[in-house]
Symmetry: C2
Subunit: 345 residues, 2 copies
């Protein structure tokens, strides 16, 4: 059964209620279990344990769902969003009655997993340059394919790492979830960037890049195509943004040169995190333009690396605001110092 | 040094950057350490380890900061918000320039701890009725005192329990943080409730109560003054709301009868959680009317109990939407079954 997207009448927020896997109290011990090597569905030889693959890079012979791949994209076995729904149901959220307390639509969308490497013990920060380029290429390919489908409005790409980062399988992977409604956080960013453009004529993110270069104190690294810094209002300790220098709204429009540079940057930055912290849990979250309009004039794609060193607790859940125990200036300083000498620019 | 409230130019969200306790990578192992019995600042005999108390209930002789109390309110030793700031600085966020990228005000406010019991091993779910009434009374007293201070606009009361719930000290306590800006989540709720009132002439939360009574399937418990249910669009598995039946915007206007009933309800519900789940981490979050206007016609205070059985991960941080693996109907059913027979109504 497809999950339901329910609207919270008190906030307008949407929640995906995954009915198919509804869990009783006693299930929560099992859910949190970790996959052992040997029984892992993402290792060579376990290709049959996932649904049939969507895409694989690096396999020399054309033999779907066999070994030999370097990066493999498969449907999530327990999808939170799916295209398998009764299409007689109206799924346009804008057509729904405003004052009804109980409003839901099917959770129309796509939920895929990008297995980053066949090796069970790989980490994101230790991938080779060609591996990292393959991972990014696979994600770009899925972005370009999925944006053709007008049932979905946004593709959320992200990585969960570590228990506190929400990774339920320990074999390194990214996830792609295409959703039928533009996410609240992205809509807010698009609105803010649009208003800034209206008032100043400029792109907010281009100005932020310039401001950071001028201020210097929050920059971790600068490459040909990317600026990496701890943002001024970092919500999380050691939060790090990777922002393209060239104005571009959509991740899927990344050039070949930018992709290579992003691969190098991610290896350097995530590698630095893995060295500086002892087994750091984190999320990497893609921010890119939605597919329900043309935001090219003022939105600006970027990645956010969110280390999960502090807990989202009652204050954050009550207010929506964060308390960050580490000033971004201190964080950037410590991260710059942790970059291996030979990689410094 | 007082913390800074910085505005994120991409979203408008405010972040408290606690400069005083800025942490380097190596500090994060220490931060997550647990307080052992005997060195705990919240136990009898350690009263000198906290800043001087603000309020204590249950002590028979008037001897501040001595043993004998039942519930004790003290300033947080490492406050995220404080009234100790240079008052020549303009702290009105509305006076700030819209287009400046780097906007901050001092984190003006109050940060207090409500120590719920002298016993180190108490839990919220096993408090006696009179202890729970004392805890709620102490919180109400602080609400009534702090709302007199026009430097703060909202008081966020909350409880963090368990590591995943963000509790850094294991001795059971609640926290109070008064903030100079109405929190985003509360502002959104107030706006939604106001629009609903405009369109229908009714209180949104009163209608939700009625809807839940009619639907029956999400109700856990009903008492004279409160309805306890898993909300229709629960963000968290087993999320539970406790909503007063009588329309009232502000928690601090709770009557004596309501307070006793709330104490009974909290004991029953949190007690049931502690029985049903093995060592469940959770947050309890107060939602009440802000102090910057009169919202009595349409806002409606309530408590949200948020079990932290699922992790807030990349999808939630990227989109602002949640994936909940447990339908609230299933959750309510399981919780109803877990209520001890003698407590059922």
């Amino acid at each position: 059964m497809i999950s339901e997207l329910r609207r919270d009448p008190t906030s307008g927020a949407w929640v995906a209620i995954a009915s198919a896997r509804s869990t009783r109290p006693s299930d929560f011990r099992i859910i949190h279990g970790e996959q052992k090597k040997g029984t892992c569905p993402f290792c060579y030889g376990s290709e049959h344990m996932t649904p049939p693959e969507i895409l694989a890079l690096g396999r020399e012979v054309e033999a779907p769902n066999a070994e030999g791949w370097q990066v493999r994209v498969v449907p999530n076995k327990f999808p939170a969003f799916s295209l398998d729904y009764d299409d007689s149901i109206d799924v346009d959220p804008d057509a729904l009655e405003q004052d009804r307390l109980y409003v839901s639509i099917p959770a129309v969308g796509i939920h895929e997993v990008v297995v980053e490497a066949p090796e069970h013990d790989s980490t994101f920060g230790t991938h080779s340059q060609s591996r990292m380029e393959d991972i990014l290429t696979a994600i770009v390919m899925r972005f370009r394919a999925l944006r053709q489908d007008n049932r979905v409005k946004y593709l959320q790409a992200f990585k969960n790492w570590g228990r506190a980062g929400g990774a339920s399988l320990s074999h390194t992977h990214c996830q792609l979830i295409a959703v039928p409604i533009v996410p609240e956080i992205i809509q807010t960013e698009v609105d803010h960037a649009g208003q800034y453009k209206d008032r100043t004529g400029r792109c907010l993110y281009c100005d932020i890049n310039e401001g950071e270069i001028e201020a210097r104190e929050r920059i971790i690294q600068e490459s040909d195509h990317f600026l990496t810094f701890c943002p001024y209002a970092s919500k999380f300790p050691y939060e790090t943004w990777i922002v393209p220098k060239q104005h571009k709204a959509s991740f899927e429009d990344i050039s070949k040169d930018e992709l290579s540079d992003l691969a190098r940057t991610l290896r350097l930055i995530v590698g630095t995190f893995e060295l500086a912290f002892d087994d750091v849990p984190y999320n990497i979250v893609w921010h890119t333009a939605p597919w329900n309009g043309d935001f090219s004039a003022y939105y600006h794609w970027h990645l956010e690396l969110l280390p999960r060193l502090a807990t989202i607790a009652g204050f954050e859940l009550g207010t929506g605001y964060y308390i960050n125990p580490t000033a971004p200036e201190v964080a950037a300083d410590a991260l710059r110092e942790s970059i291996p000498e030979e990689s410094k620019n």
